[in-house]
């Protein structure tokens, strides 16, 4: 690499005529050879190195992971570059953006080995198999247990609760146009109150002092009084839109570990998010890509996921770590919405939401 770089600097110094030649010599290094398979994903993708090494050893492929941006950006970038993709497999498109990826022809069909062990409720493209479900999680309002016990208020349980006067100025959420939990929460309210009712609900929520920040990191680690970092940063909002798996994460990352999670989940405020992987349409190493997708729904990877990405496995029989069941109550009937319905309304809803809440 370094020799190529130096050579190219020289060539560029002499004249740009040979530029295209440099380009191709540079790309020889990009790992598109048949023994390397490249996975493109968003910034939150995480795994145990041992597990990936085991796959490399078994399959003979070397895996290269390219992570960039948040989920939405990663999907958009993948769509823009689909004619000459950066890799072979894309992981991290969720049900809120699935239709955008499918309509733009990002993926080619592949029916993964072991798909029969994945629950039907996760298989949103079952007829064509352009994507394979990998994990699921629930976007829910989290609460700061200490705040509510200190003030002797019951924490909220449902969407309806959030607009009650005792929860005034307590909730922080994310910008629905820039953050996937923010969008999920808006979709949850749309699923709950319907096409005609959700805007009225948000008017009430706004009147009740909901605060909007750009991203989940800012909401959870800066504004939320219940998270370890939020406490340190002086966060003063005891309610935050986050994940059902956030309370176990608070315990796992704490040192020393507390007996119970410092935060809880308002189980009636959840929206189900499912993440998919797919074989990119113009993948250079399709065979390697297929093997990689098979691996992503293998028991080994599925059981490795929860404590790395704080999501739930979708494969039947994959065990969930004890921390999850102990510290994180499962969502009660999370809200869901068909991808087609999301596709049809998403942009308009986000637009209405923006002018209603932010302007």
């Amino acid at each position: 690499m370094h020799i190529t770089k130096k050579a190219t600097v020289l060539v560029v110094g002499l004249g740009l005529v040979t530029l295209s030649a440099c380009g191709s010599s540079g790309s020889g290094d990009s790992g598109t050879g048949s023994k390397t398979v490249t996975l493109v994903s968003h910034g939150s993708f995480a795994y145990s190195k041992d597990v990936l090494k085991a796959f490399e050893k078994e399959s003979g492929y070397k895996v290269k992971v390219l992570k960039s941006g948040d989920a939405g950006q990663a999907v958009n970038q993948a769509i823009l570059t689909k004619d000459n993709p950066q890799g072979d497999v894309f992981f991290g498109v969720d049900n809120t953006l699935l239709s955008r990826a499918l309509d733009n022809g990002l993926f080619q069909p592949y029916e993964a080995k072991g798909l029969d062990k994945v629950g039907a409720e996760y298989q949103l493209d079952q007829d064509e198999h352009r994507v394979t479900p990998i994990d699921s999680g629930d976007i829910c309002v989290n609460y700061d247990k200490a705040y509510f016990s200190k003030n002797k208020i019951e924490p909220p349980q449902s969407f309806d609760d959030l607009v009650k006067p005792e929860y005034k100025d307590l909730l922080v959420t994310e910008n629905a146009s820039t953050s996937s939990p923010g969008l999920g929460f808006v979709l949850g309210t749309a699923a709950k109150y319907g096409d005609d009712g959700w805007e009225g609900y948000w008017e009430k929520l706004k009147a009740n002092g909901v605060k909007v920040v750009d991203g989940w990191e800012q909401a959870y680690y800066q504004e939320f009084s219940g998270s370890t970092d939020g406490k340190k940063a002086g966060g003063d909002r005891p309610l935050v839109v986050s994940y059902a798996s956030s309370p176990p994460a608070e315990v796992v990352y704490a040192d020393p570990k507390p007996k119970t999670a410092p935060t809880g989940v308002a189980t009636g405020t959840c929206f189900r998010q499912i993440e998919f992987a797919g074989l990119l349409s113009n993948a250079k190493n399709a065979e390697g890509g297929k093997a990689l997708i098979d691996f992503l729904i293998s028991k080994k990877f599925q059981e490795d996921m929860p404590l790395n990405m704080f999501v739930y496995p979708v494969v039947e029989g994959a065990s969930v770590p004890a921390e999850f069941t102990e510290y994180g109550p499962a969502a009660k009937d999370p809200e869901t919405m068909a991808p087609e319905k999301i596709a049809e309304n998403r942009d308009q809803w986000v637009k209405s939401w923006t002018s209603l809440v932010l302007k």
Binding site: V9, G13, G26, G43, I79, L80, N84, E217
Partner: protein, 565 residues
Amino acid sequence: MDLARTEVAEAAKETVAAPRAPRRPGSVARLGLMVLPVVFFGVFFAHPVAAIVVRGLKADGTWDLGRIGEVLGDSGIRHVLWFTTWQALVSTALTLLIALPGAYVFARFDFRGKETLRAVVTVPFVLPTVVVGTAFLALVGRGGLFDELWGVRLDTTVWAILLAHVFFNYAVVVRTVGGLWAQLDPRQEEAARMLGASPLAAWRKVTLPALGPAVAAAALMVFLFTFTSFGVVQILGGPTFSTLEVEIYRQTSEIFDLATAAVLTLVQFVAVGLILAVHAWTVRRRETALRLVDASLTARRPRGAGQWALLGGVLVTVVVLILLPLGVLVERSLDAPGFGYYKALTSDDSGIFLVAPIEAVGNSLTYALAATAIALLIGGLAAAALTRRAGRLVRGFDALLMLPLGVSAVTVGFGFLIALDEPPLNLRSSWILVPLAQALVGVPFVVRIMLPVLRAVDERLREAATVLGASPWRVWREVDLPMVRRALLVAAGFAFAVSLGEFGATVFIARADNPTLPVAVARLLGRPGDLNYGQAMALSTILMVVCAVALLVLERLRTDRTGEF
């Protein structure tokens, strides 16, 4: 940044020093020199920008121009346009207000450490906007210095954005206006005083008219930079404030409404074109004879309480406005015992990158070197082509070279991704994409710095050499090169510094396994936790030090020449 300043010199030299170049049939040679720059801008600027605009506005093979009216009619978009213009105007006014006294002090006063201080105030200008945003967040954000001390928080208010813009552009005014101010003959003002004018009247009648065009040029540059502000607004603005450039980014990258993004790109294109046209006009208007003297003759030690107070006031401003944010950055980077954050940079198990964050330093330096080489080649050729007195066509070419400064870096970045992915220019997975994008921003600086110097070379020397039988190449080597060598170094330094800090375009095209410093900082900031935050501060500090060293070296190069460099 030094563009306007050098134009001042350019204007001055043409009227005072430069001998009038005789017209001669050099147009063929000029066209020859222009070929490579034109091809470069065509392939790496016009083509990608056009590709992304076309992609947005052409649905299924037909143009959808109705979208233009639709987008412009949208109240949310109109709010963005209004806010973009408003904040740019206020930022510009505020910058002038705060920086003009600084321009005066740097021009007319002699004090110890002046050259170092001049380099220090220039550091913000070449810092990546992410770092500036971060520094201000550490100062006025939640848990920032002001919050800790007095419970004052300005993040998510427009004040944080305005202050950061002043911080950023202070040097533009100090250097552009101060550069000319230092060369104005103070005896003219003294003469007016002797004839009975009050100090204020003398200043208003004599100095102000002479400075006016330089102030206008500086104001327009500040307006251009704040009008297209991206990183600062993105980090400090929260979800409520959005400039045109940030909105283009959101529409492309987050909402994926390419049509709206394309329309907004066109709007910004028109606005930037207008700003540059006005700028060119003020530059031309400035070509009136000014009596200029050697800058070293006009500066003296401050005398009397008033002048000392003025100097003190400017020093306090510089300390509070510029040194404090930079200092907070350094302080936060040292917040862990035993340089903990710096040590963490060498480990690759944070999971954010495939490599240790420290490798971003090496990537950045390599990319910036390559970008500098490209910018020098392209900018040098363009400047050479523009050297001789030129007609409208060439002036148009001159303005064209400035456009990349004002066109959305986001658009360029995405344009690169979709336009340069086919043979014969399949560069998508090549590392050269990053330096190419960075060079686009570097070229205008190279041209602006080289041009006045090249124009000042006595044409008779070249002619004499030619008559004596030297080849054009030899003429350039023996006549031009020795005279422009220093300018070449300064241009290289600036191109290097801006390449190092380029963020908007790089963020899209830098590969995940080869992040640059600004990209690494942004990614670390986007992750929770003290360690990531501390590492972002440490990387920012490293970047700042590299920029500062480059600028200090330039400042040394400048001192022994009394002219513009």
